[in-house]
């Protein structure tokens, strides 16, 4: 039997087939809403609100045209949020938070992976504990704090609060990568005349670069998808893209089509990134968990 057919047989034999069927079913269940939104974004308003939804409809780009700036009319209609501006806000906040998390989290991860000192595990655990409580539980005190400190509705404020999402991920995943480096390689560098900083920058960092890259993408996706922080701690000028979709609900009507189009555009960057680094992503997610 040639290897391809062998694989085919293995895939569809008995229990495997059952598992596969189950997974397909789940995929359908999980992806259906996205499919629905995707379809909706190409429907005219009349098709959307029609009481008998149709699978076959006349696709239109009018929703996308409405939310993207048109040359003659200016970027947006009065009174509605500028979606593109929010999309840019998302980029700014997410990338800012990511950069800060990498700058702080990667060295921290290295220290937690390599040095031994009292309370090391406690500190590592503390980072993780950022993610224990749901965001909604801490948002009110944070809101009051931000009002007081003048961080409300600022990029800096949002970048800082996004650390709650990004920093634990960076620290814990990068730590796993650093722990994978052979200790003796670093000891060799010690004997070769390097200080710990030299070892970090010239041996450890280059070795975990691919890992850090996939950590960054993963972290980006988590931060990008956040909704609550932006909604409560931002305002019109700083709302991220996820919050912008809410702007299509108004007193008189809900602009379903435009909301769907905005959602689709907002999904695109994380989707593209996930496809791009799929292989590394799984490794990054499981690495911290399975190490002995």
């Amino acid at each position: 039997m040639n290897p391809k057919r062998k694989r085919f047989h293995r895939l569809f034999s008995g229990r495997k087939a059952g598992v596969l069927l189950g997974l397909c079913g789940y995929a359908l269940f999980a992806l259906f809403p996205i499919l629905w939104v995707g379809m909706m974004s190409f429907k005219s308003h009349r098709d959307i609100v029609s009481p008998t939804p149709e699978i076959l409809f006349r696709p239109t780009l009018e929703n996308y045209r409405a939310i993207l700036p048109r040359s003659q009319e200016g970027p947006h209609e009065t009174g509605r949020m500028d979606f593109l501006q929010c999309f840019r806000n998302s980029l700014r906040i997410t990338l800012g938070a990511l950069a800060l998390s990498l700058a702080v989290g990667v060295p921290a991860a290295y220290v937690l992976a390599r040095l031994s000192f009292r309370g090391k595990e406690d500190i590592a655990f503390l980072f993780l504990s950022f993610r224990f409580a749901p965001e909604i539980a801490v948002i009110i005190p944070v809101y009051l704090l931000f009002k007081e400190l003048g961080l409300y509705n600022t990029y800096l404020g949002l970048i800082l609060v996004y650390q709650l999402i990004t920093l634990p991920l960076v620290v814990w995943i990068a730590r796993g990568y650093f722990e994978e480096i052979s200790k003796e390689v670093e000891q060799a560098a010690q004997l070769d005349g390097y200080s710990w900083w030299g070892i970090f920058t010239r041996v450890a960092l280059p070795l975990v670069k691919p890992g850090i890259a996939s950590t960054a993408v993963l972290t980006f996706i988590f931060a990008w998808n956040n909704f609550v922080f932006g909604l409560i701690l931002g305002a019109r000028e700083t709302f991220p893209g996820t919050v912008a979709t809410l702007g299509f609900i108004s007193y008189e009507s809900v602009l379903w089509g435009q909301m769907a189009a905005a959602t689709v555009i907002t999904i695109l960057p994380p989707l593209a990134l996930s496809i791009f680094i799929q292989k590394h992503l799984v490794r990054g997610l499981t690495l911290g968990a399975v190490r002995g």
Partner: protein
């Protein structure tokens, strides 16, 4: 070239005592081999000398000065790791240059290039300079890691089982190269291994470790011919030395011949052993496999035995002989003994070793 001295060095990992009071001395330009079974504390000792592991007790002196507070980079020490520990992200050339580019050295680039080329020439790896470690065979990696250690011309070179991952042929060749190189460069070397052949072949002096303690120190022929105790005797030689417990007869009556009664047979001893055995009733008898001769005629002195197993290695034969209630390893040249045939064992009596029944100490030492 520096000297090295360890004084009562201890190393604990949690509650486990890996090294329990090792004292040793390495002279200028000496090739010192630390030999021991796995878990003897060899690598821990080496890493403490390098400064990679802190001491739990004792003192290490390099060139007469206490080195406890010195970080690894200030000890003038280079190390070859068992795992090679090459930098996977750097080419061979960059690996070799890495120590020279460190803040401790910071040589100008043209000098670095010259040193790298020179080292690559000596180790015959000029054609490998632009490969990465992943693209090298075990022997090539080993040479790169050796080159990286030698390129700095360190005062003290530490080697942790550098040949253990090579195949037998290459291991032998590299062994000779190492010995030649050390003689040519006149560097002081501390070399760790569990392979007794490597140890005997390379060492000016040997330190034998077992369970964190020094068992014996001496030249290869000293430790081989008069091992301090049974553990040392077992470590050196293949097949291993035969150890039999034996009772002593007629030790205190001068008139009769001195006789050992073992599980394998009765053995008259030469008179010279008599003073060693005064006041003892039992000893452990040690006979190396190549100090046993197999005789064809059934009658005569010696032990009766039967061939249990026979391996013909061409240039020599390894046999296992059943004698009395035990089995003895024998190494000899002739090969005309079939499995199951009867034979008679005689011994090179002057080479017999006697050990204390309880402590395992060599009675002659």
């Amino acid at each position: 070239m520096p000297t090295l001295e360890l004084r009562e060095v201890f190393k604990k990992y949690g509650t486990v005592e890996a090294v329990r009071g090792i004292s040793l001395e390495c002279r200028d330009r000496e090739f010192l081999v630390i030999l021991g079974p796995s878990g003897a504390g060899k690598t821990s000792t080496l890493k403490m000398i390098a400064g990679l592991e802190p001491l739990s007790g004792g003192e290490i002196r390099i060139d007469g000065r206490c080195a406890d507070a010195l970080p690894p980079k200030d000890r003038d020490v280079a190390m070859v790791f068992e795992t090679y520990a090459l930098y996977p992200h750097l080419t061979v050339c960059q690996n070799l240059a890495f120590p020279l580019r460190s803040p401790a050295f910071r040589l100008p680039e043209e000098q670095i290039e010259a040193r790298v080329r020179e080292t690559a020439r000596i180790l015959q790896m000029e054609s490998l300079l632009h490969r990465r470690p992943a693209e090298l065979s075990g022997g090539q990696k080993q040479r790169v890691s050796l080159g990286r250690a030698l390129i700095r011309c360190p005062g003290l070179l530490l080697m942790d089982e550098p040949l253990s991952h090579l195949d037998a042929h290459l291991r032998h060749r590299m062994r000779r190269e190492l010995k030649r190189m050390q003689a040519a460069r006149q560097s002081t070397v501390v070399y760790v291994t569990h392979d007794y052949l490597e140890a005997l072949a390379l060492a000016d002096r040997l330190v034998i470790l077992d369970r964190g303690r020094v068992r014996q120190t001496g030249t290869p022929s000293e430790v081989y011919h008069s091992p301090a105790d049974t553990s040392v005797a077992l470590l050196l030689g293949h097949p291993r030395i035969n150890l039999l417990s034996a009772r002593i007869r007629n030790c205190d009556t001068d008139s009769d011949r001195l006789v050992l009664e073992s599980e394998a047979g009765i053995l008259p001893l030469p008179e010279e052993f008599r003073p060693l055995l005064q006041g003892r009733t039992e000893v452990v008898l040690g006979i190396r496999p190549h100090h046993i001769r197999l005789e064809e005629e059934a009658s005569g002195h010696g032990w009766q035995g039967r061939v249990y197993a026979h391996e013909n290695l061409g240039y020599r034969n390894l046999l296992e002989i059943e004698a009395g209630s035990c089995r003895l390893d024998v190494r000899c040249r002739e090969s005309n003994f079939a499995v199951g045939s009867d034979t008679r064992l005689t011994f090179a009596e002057s080479r017999l070793l006697l050990f204390d029944k309880n402590t395992g100490k060599n009675l002659k030492a």
